[in-house]
């Protein structure tokens, strides 16, 4: 096993050096355009358990390819077809314990348009279930805050998810909204609306297909 792996990984390193060399010399970095994805369902609430009063859902992730700007069927969950997976407020990247790809991420505090180049000392985290995720999970720690009084989830303003895709390319993502129609419900909305209309992502992203760290 070990014997076989070694030359392969050596090849990988070599090829990446080769690629980066050619890229530096010839590639002209094209400005990438931002794409907005609206109402992406992410394991939406199906109902409320009559006995426990707890909401329930199918428990399935929605897989998304940033490269192709399309949903990836769940049958391809064990592939490098997808870059991000959404379920409730949890976002996975295709790497580490979550997938076979080279995926990783970190959260940048600032504006989407200010992420022009990913500096070389940036550290990409990878998913390491159950305790640690590249896109940090939990209220106030990653991309959103949860208000216990209103039971509403609000994406934090000024947070950019800097993503390394399954194929090792780079993208930046800003989550805009978590509710159906792209508008957070008013605090006075009914409990049933707050449950049934949540878990619909609206986000914008820019994907750099040439593999460079510049947008």
């Amino acid at each position: 096993m070990r014997q076989k792996l070694k030359p392969f990984s050596l090849l990988l390193i070599l090829s990446s050096i080769l690629f980066s060399c050619t890229k530096n010399e010839t590639t002209v970095v094209l400005p990438v355009t931002a794409i907005t994805v609206s109402n992406l369902p992410a394991d939406t609430v199906l109902g409320v358990n009559a006995i426990t009063g707890m909401p329930f859902s199918a428990g399935k992730y929605t897989f998304y390819s940033l490269e192709r700007n399309a949903i990836v069927p769940n049958t391809d969950s064990a592939s490098t077809q997808w870059d991000l997976a959404f379920a409730g407020s949890k976002i996975l990247t295709n790497g580490g314990t979550s997938g076979k790809g080279l995926g990783g991420a970190f959260i940048y505090t600032g504006l989407f348009n200010d992420v022009k180049t990913i500096s070389n000392d940036s550290v990409f985290k990878t998913d390491n279930a159950p305790g640690s995720f590249a896109v940090t999970f939990g209220s106030g720690k990653g991309w959103y805050v949860y208000d216990q009084l209103t039971s509403l989830i609000t994406p934090l303003a000024g947070r950019v998810l800097v993503i390394r895709t399954a194929s090792g390319k780079y993208a930046k993502v800003e989550i805009i909204n978590y509710y159906k129609g792209g508008v957070t419900l008013p605090t006075t909305a009914s409990e049933s609306d707050k449950l049934s209309k949540q878990r619909y992502y609206t986000f914008r992203y820019a994907y750099q297909p040439n593999g460079s760290k510049t947008f």
Partner: protein, 574 residues
Amino acid sequence: MELRLLLFLIFTPVSIFSQVKFVKDTIQLKGDSVVVTATRSERKLSNVTVPVTIISAKSIQQIGALRLTDILKEQPGLTMTSGFGAGVQLTRLAMNQQFKYNLTQNTNILIGMRFTNEQIKNELSVTNGGLTINSNGAEKNTDYNVSSSLNHRFSNSLKTSFRSYITRYNATQNLLTVSGAPYTDLLDHLFNRLENQTDWVVNKKLTAIVGGGAVMEGVKSSRYDSEKIRKTNTNQYAFSQWEWMPNSKLILIGGIRFDHNQTYASAWSPKASMLYKINKQNRIRLSIGQGFKAPDFRQLYLNFTNAAAGSYSVFGTAQAQKVIGQLNSLGQIGTLYNNFYQLKALQPEYATGTHLTWEFEPNAKNNFSFQLFRNDIRNLIEVQQVGAYITGAQIYSYLNIGRAFTTGFEIEAKHQISKEFSISTAYQYLQTGDKDQIAQIKNGTVYTRDANGLSRKLNVSEYVGLPNNSTHKAQLKFNYSNQNGLFGNIRALYRSKWAVNNTNGNEVFDDGDSFAKGYIALHLSIGKDYINGLGFQFGCDNMLNYIDALNLPNLPGRTFFATIKLQKSQKHKS
């Protein structure tokens, strides 16, 4: 619309023994109120250097106030936020006894006792989203307090007083939930204070007060680690105050108090104040002082894990490090944040306040006052996440971190239209803010969202300050009262919008967040008191029927009320 009919029977037996002689104060009463609170010595209100508002028993009764919040929310400059502990009752059935003995001409003993007992039966059922929750059971509240003092006058210029105050409040709640599971909540609060105060008239221009005392407090609660063990706290304090009257126009007061505490850091409270009587019509008061708010028992001793909501835990600082350390050695802790290592004995919250007041009283029928104020608060105690369990559930404790300010001005005016009619009005302008948040906004590290939901930087001009504070508050009151005991009043209270929820994705309150709407509450009360102690009163609170159940749970819709009162005073003369 709600109808409430109340019948009050208030018996206040007062036993006065024949040997009692009234100890004369050095001040002359000429219709001016006497206050003690502000300076620890009996002073005419017009001679007090700090701003004091007196709410007379008569005015409390005439507006039909039942709870402390009813009367406080009608004071300009005070805002009552809804929450726990807002329901202190002003009248209820209570046994009340006071005695005074004169041991010698210069020595007397005063003893006062009070006992109340309250039983509340609950039969509630709440339906929410098809789920019904029943709550059946009883609440029992008992409250007793005993106060006593030993007073001795050494000479006309020196007197001393030993005072003790012992009180205990016990509240138990025993409920059965729909599943049959019992829900019990217990609070038992014991408070004992012993203090001495010595008043010394050094000369005609200078008086001094020196004193000190100790407070022992204990709380048992089902929300602490064990409801059997009483959490105790002792506080020793010493104070001194000097009052200098260089001439008939100027009074200067300087004072300092030191508090040494068992469970949180010691605190100094210095203050200085001044009253300058420019002429008969104009007075200026200036006061600068520092006060503190001690950490409460919850912030020290809470040991609470909410199994119903993700099993997060909150630990008071007195135990947080120990308890979390034990959990860590059991391998239950996943992460500890940097601020866990910063946990230490809580400091009190300090506030430094400056108040400048100009009072103008052109004649007995009109008075006017204008006040500027600024308060700086530091060491604000805030709950913060200090770590997480392996399961990811959060662990919280308390830290002194916040810095805030409140500043603004207040205008009050009163006009006596005739012997029976008077009108009064007040307005307050208030600005508040969290200093750290303002610094972050200026640094450009606070963001908000534009109309399309995209992030942008927040401007300082969009910042609204602390939640639950209205920029404008105003009130207008008409009052009627005649010699035959007939009285009536109509009061309009206005409050402008205030921030309630953070909804736009940053952790500061700004224009993009959700606000409660400004509103006017209009109240009316009419009544008549008879000499024999009988009284009738009726009225209507919230005549405009303004309702905002979410943000103003303490403001029910239009409420009619009627009160019949019988006040009996027995005076024994032996």
